[in-house]
């Protein structure tokens, strides 16, 4: 689900998401022609990992995909999940 579509619980979260999606990105002109941005919030790390792996698997048939994680633990989890998508 997209940030903007999610029923975000908590004022702080909502403020963060709005800032993340609009203000700061607009401020730095991050909208580059040809690039499309999506933002998702997940309930847990596992949900994020699963969502990333699913998206990567779907896109990889057309283009190369780079998944960048903010920790080694997340990297390991994503790698395992991506692999499991193809384990048959």
């Amino acid at each position: 689900m997209k940030f903007s579509e999610q029923a975000v619980t908590g004022v702080t979260h909502a403020a963060n998401l709005i800032a993340f999606e609009t203000c700061q990105i607009d401020h730095l002109n991050m909208y580059r022609e040809g690039l499309e941005w999506e933002f998702f919030e997940t309930r847990s790390d596992d949900d994020a990992v699963d969502q990333a792996a699913t998206l990567a698997a779907a896109k990889a048939s057309d283009v190369n995909v780079i998944i960048i994680t903010t920790s080694i633990a997340l990297c390991d989890k994503v790698a395992l999940k991506v692999a499991s998508k193809y384990s048959g």
């Binding site: 702080t12 690039l35 999506e38 933002f39 990333a52 960048i68 994680t69 080694i72 994503v78």
Partner: protein, 145 residues
């Protein structure tokens, strides 16, 4: 799939499609060959993969976790040389931790708590002695039938 099988770096999957996945992190980014990176269709990496990685035909960048700064997101997006999609997927609890993009009104204690929790989690995970290499995810693999 047993975790130990995955860690060996040996090809073990069978399928009609062929995918190559490269895992890039700070432990192997210096030794991984450019050919391996170029051959991979999916690259999974830590933030070190977000800078200096020059790969053709990247059409999708997925960031998992709250980036440390907005400039970092911009840098990561640069992996797409032309058109493409940038998807940022952030677990909720990351929004309460430190970093430029997290809540500015959170206390330092919360930041410290999250850092400690993250360190403990990473530490326990590393105890599995994971060592990744470039590997074929599909094809040439062990037959699961």
């Amino acid at each position: 799939m047993e975790f130990s099988e995955f860690c060996t770096g040996q090809p073990f999957f069978t399928n009609t499609q062929v995918r190559k996945v490269a895992v890039v992190n700070s432990q192997n980014s210096d030794t991984m060959s450019g050919e391996s990176v170029e051959a991979a269709q999916i690259i999974v990496g830590t933030s070190c993969a977000g800078t200096g990685l020059d790969k053709r035909n990247v059409g999708q960048v997925i960031a998992v976790g709250l980036p440390f700064s907005i400039e970092q997101v911009l840098q990561w997006a640069g992996r797409c040389r032309a058109s493409g999609n940038i998807t940022v997927i952030v677990p909720s609890w990351h929004m309460r931790c430190g970093g430029e993009l997290a809540g500015a009104n959170d206390s330092r204690q919360i930041v410290d708590d999250c850092s400690n929790m993250n360190s403990m989690w990473c530490g326990s995970y590393r105890q599995l002695d994971v060592s990744y290499h470039t590997f074929d995810v599909i094809g040439m693999g062990r037959n699961h039938a």
